[in-house]
């Protein structure tokens, strides 16, 4: 086990490297990939809060990502300053989650999973029908488009997500969430307010998902409004969290790095969307044989 100061030292050095990266290199491929990794860290951590810590599998995560993305995009393009647009996007996703969460948490286990899946699908159909035209950045914004500002924003998002998860896991809230995950009835009997804890987890989770959507909306040059509601966003987060290690802080970070690298590499070498099939197989293997994710493998390996 590393000493605490050594850990912080490595962590700080790594963070400094990431902050300095745009100054060290101007290769847009490296910046794009790291940028994407940050966005995936943010999105998968947001799923991890509800799915990993509170144990509520939300298969409609794309809905909140989508709401955040759509709101931020349109508010920003109307001329609002970006930070306000991002905040508004995240808040609207959270408010929506609040109204969904109250009835949805009446559902337990499997019914919650199906309910969220269906909810995201309803939103996708509505948005696809209401907004059939792709949203493209206006010419003047395109002229000043810089990857570096997207990079820092994504980095900020990733750091925010990691710290949120860190604070949750070291707080009373996190304790209550884990109690619910392990045994809802037992938690209830020991005095944990089930609905209150689930709802808190859900709201934090969706706030971050909305924020991830907002960053994505700022990042993308052209985007089809229905696309941000596509189930792929949910699935990517779920795959990342499970492959990395569910209910851990490091797991989703590791998973995101692995996911982006493998995805890029596979889409270079495989035709069409076959990389998705590879992820599907990998995902099934992880669920069956290493339910705690790769992080568990690493832990087992280092402990000998």
């Amino acid at each position: 086990m590393l000493a605490q100061w050594k850990k912080s030292f490595i962590f700080g050095g790594f963070l400094a490297l990431l902050v300095l990266l745009p100054l060290l290199t101007s290769r847009s491929d490296i910046l794009t990939w790291t940028c994407l990794t940050f966005q995936y860290i943010l999105l998968s951590q947001s799923w991890n809060i509800l799915g990993g810590y509170a144990g509520q599998v939300n298969l409609g995560h794309a809905a909140f990502f989508g709401i955040g993305a759509l709101t931020t995009r349109y508010v920003w393009l109307w001329g609002f300053p970006l930070p306000l647009a991002l905040l508004l996007g995240s808040l609207i996703a959270t408010v929506f989650a609040f109204f969904i969460g109250l009835p949805a948490f009446r559902l337990r286990g499997i019914y919650f999973v199906i309910g969220t899946l269906v909810l995201a699908e309803i939103l996708r159909i509505i948005v696809d029908t209401r907004f059939p035209v792709a949203s493209v950045l206006p010419a003047e914004t395109l002229l000043t488009y810089s990857l570096v500002s997207r990079y820092y924003l994504s980095l900020l998002g990733a750091i925010l997500a990691v710290f949120t998860v860190y604070f949750i896991s070291h707080s009373r809230l996190g304790l209550g969430m884990r109690a619910i995950r392990e045994d809802e009835d037992a938690a209830k009997t020991s005095g944990v307010g089930i609905l209150q804890y689930k709802l808190s987890a859900f709201l934090i989770s969706t706030f971050l998902a909305g924020f991830a959507g907002g960053i994505f909306a700022y990042y993308m040059v052209a985007v089809q409004p229905g696309y941000v509601f596509s189930p792929a966003w949910t699935f990517d987060s779920v795959v990342i969290v499970f492959v990395g290690g569910i209910g851990t802080i490091v797991g989703p970070i590791f998973g995101s790095v692995f996911f982006v690298i493998l995805k890029q590499w596979l889409s270079l070498h495989l035709p069409g969307g076959l990389h998705l099939a590879v992820f599907g197989i990998l995902f099934i293997l992880v669920v069956l044989y290493i339910p705690d994710g790769f992080i568990e493998l690493v832990r087992r390996f280092t402990k000998g």
Partner: protein, 290 residues
Amino acid sequence: MFRFLAQTLINGINIGALYGLAALGLSLIFGVMRILNVAHGEFLMIGGFIGFWLFHLYGVDPFMGLPMVGFFLFIMGIAFYKLIFSRLTRFHEEVKLKNSLLIAFGLYLIFPQIAMLLWTPDERAISPKYSGEAIDLFGLRFGYVPFWGLCVAVVTFLALYLFLNKTYFGKSLRGTAESWKAAKLSGINIERTFMITFGVGISIAGIAGVLIGMVQELTPIMGMPWTLKALIVVVLAGMGSIIGAFIAGLILGIVEAVSAIFMGPYTIAVGLFIFLIILMLRPQGLFGKT
């Protein structure tokens, strides 16, 4: 006006029977095995495309080809059970349910991609010569293909119902659904029961796929929408209810056909919305027992 409504009702019943059939396998597998197979629509899609192949490559009449597709999907179901889902039986009930969902979800990532390789992303249809023919009765149109589709659906339901209620193996299957532990203690071969249940469920999905391919288009990405359709029906009916699945399918078909008049492109959302409401108010389903 009356004629218009009656025609809408007929269309609703025709498509509703297919909804019921699409949900039947899902319901059976869930009821007996406590496995929620969200890749159900993917198997349906594969069945549809195999029917398409049989028809276009070998000129097999789609209705005549149904047993072949059913048999092929049965084998496929058994293979998938042996390869993947059998590993789930050792888990505790709730973990099993969640893991089965996650695994099926992994399959959902795989199947459309393979299907795109095999059949390209184009929309396909199984269109034999008689596919546009219809009988006019009292000024109403009874399509030839939807009518036979309805018949196949009814026969499949009855066959499964009789199989479950009148045969010895069906009895062991119902026993396993009640409590697999008790069934095992009474000497029922659980492993074999699960395997055959899964095979039969998948095979019914395949048959539904062929019938759907005759009235709608087949695409590699049709799996998820049909899984959702099947889920709606199953939740309406109550998990594991066989006859309930048929009635719920008809209800959904009629509701959709009627709401299509008012809601246009939002029709699918209407079905999903009704589903959410039922889920909130009556999670055991319309025909389920508390």
